[in-house]
């Protein structure tokens, strides 16, 4: 139970008002190939549906053969 409480304490329990359908999955363009979906600010007691954090994607164009380097 204590472990569960610790895990819960580390989470941000907010709820999306619009997690139910993809039509309402809103993304914001920041320009230059960057897009952000904003999770909603609501508390867990209102029903967590997995859509509470910011989600982003970045679109590149022409890449070289090197995919990544450390």
């Amino acid at each position: 139970m204590r472990i569960l409480m610790i895990i819960l304490s580390g989470l941000v329990w907010l709820i999306p008002a619009h997690a139910a359908s993809s039509e309402n999955f809103v993304i914001e363009s920041l320009g230059q190939g960057i897009y952000v979906h904003h999770g909603a600010h609501l508390d867990i007691d209102d029903g967590y549906q997995g859509d509470i954090c910011n989600i982003s994607f970045v679109v590149g164009s022409k890449g070289s053969g090197h995919r990544y380097r450390r």
Partner: protein
């Protein structure tokens, strides 16, 4: 060399369904393949949409899943608890919401080539969690901070509050022109928003230390710590109490 255009995803939401919605949103913007799925830390609201990017879901080349070097082990350790939470909280959406661990671990830093731009991934010491990873886009100097930064919403600490304050100090020097936080609106003044978060965290730290020194119980401290910050943040009561619950026992051993 063959030129390949690429898409990188930074966090995927907390369920297969949210990840699928993300995929559909990407497809409306570009037909390019997603080649990188980056998780900023272990918390399930950021990682359980990964399943939507598995080859079985995409019917195309599976992307590389990328996270902090400690992410994979931490995911394994928490898998059972998170599965129970998902089953309880997601209902039907828990079906197919499976754990997908990183295929690439970042120990210190990693640069991803997206062609006209690169993404620099940085692994951080213990702060919000012990699996924190940030992403900087070279083309726009956009910083994706993960949950090292909350804007408007009360910051949450699972790892080390002193470490989080220190990492925010480093991020203030990153030169970011805009910051996408883990929660809250995009910031055009990241330094200011990081200072706001640091103020809350420092007040919280000071107040908990004072309570411990004065022999005030953790339960009582939950009602008083960082009270001066209460009106500045959303969902303060619930998040602040959880922070005290996490930090008080650790700070007792300072």
């Amino acid at each position: 060399m063959l030129s390949v255009a690429r898409v990188a995803v930074i966090d995927t939401g907390g369920s297969l369904k949210v990840g699928q919605h993300l995929r559909q949103a990407i497809a409306k913007v570009t037909s390019l393949p997603v080649l990188y799925v980056i998780n900023t830390h272990v918390h399930p609201d950021h990682t359980y949409g990964n399943a939507a990017f598995l080859a079985s879901q995409l019917n195309e080349v599976e992307p590389e899943f990328i996270g902090h070097e400690k992410l994979s082990t931490t995911m394994e350790l928490r898998q059972e608890q998170y599965a129970k939470l998902n089953a309880k909280l997601l209902g039907e959406d828990a079906l197919g919401t499976i754990l997908v661990k990183p295929s690439i671990a970042v120990k210190s830093s990693l640069t991803l080539d997206l062609g006209d731009r690169s993404l620099v991934l940085t692994a951080h010491p213990v702060a919000h969690t012990h699996t924190d990873l940030t992403v900087m886009d070279s083309q726009t100097q956009t910083l994706f901070s993960g949950d090292l930064l909350f804007i408007e919403r009360t910051p949450v600490v699972e790892g080390d509050v002193k470490g989080l304050i220190a990492e925010l100090d480093k991020l203030k020097l990153s030169g970011a022109l805009q910051v996408v936080p883990g929660h809250g609106p995009v910031s055009q003044d990241g330094v200011l928003d990081m200072k706001k978060a640091q103020t809350y965290l420092q007040v919280l730290l000071n107040d908990i230390r004072a309570s411990i020194k004065q022999g005030v119980s953790m339960e009582a401290t939950m009602n008083t710590a960082a009270a001066t910050e209460k009106d500045k943040w959303l969902l303060f009561d619930v998040a602040n109490r959880r922070n005290v619950n996490t930090l008080y026992p650790a700070l007792e051993w300072e």
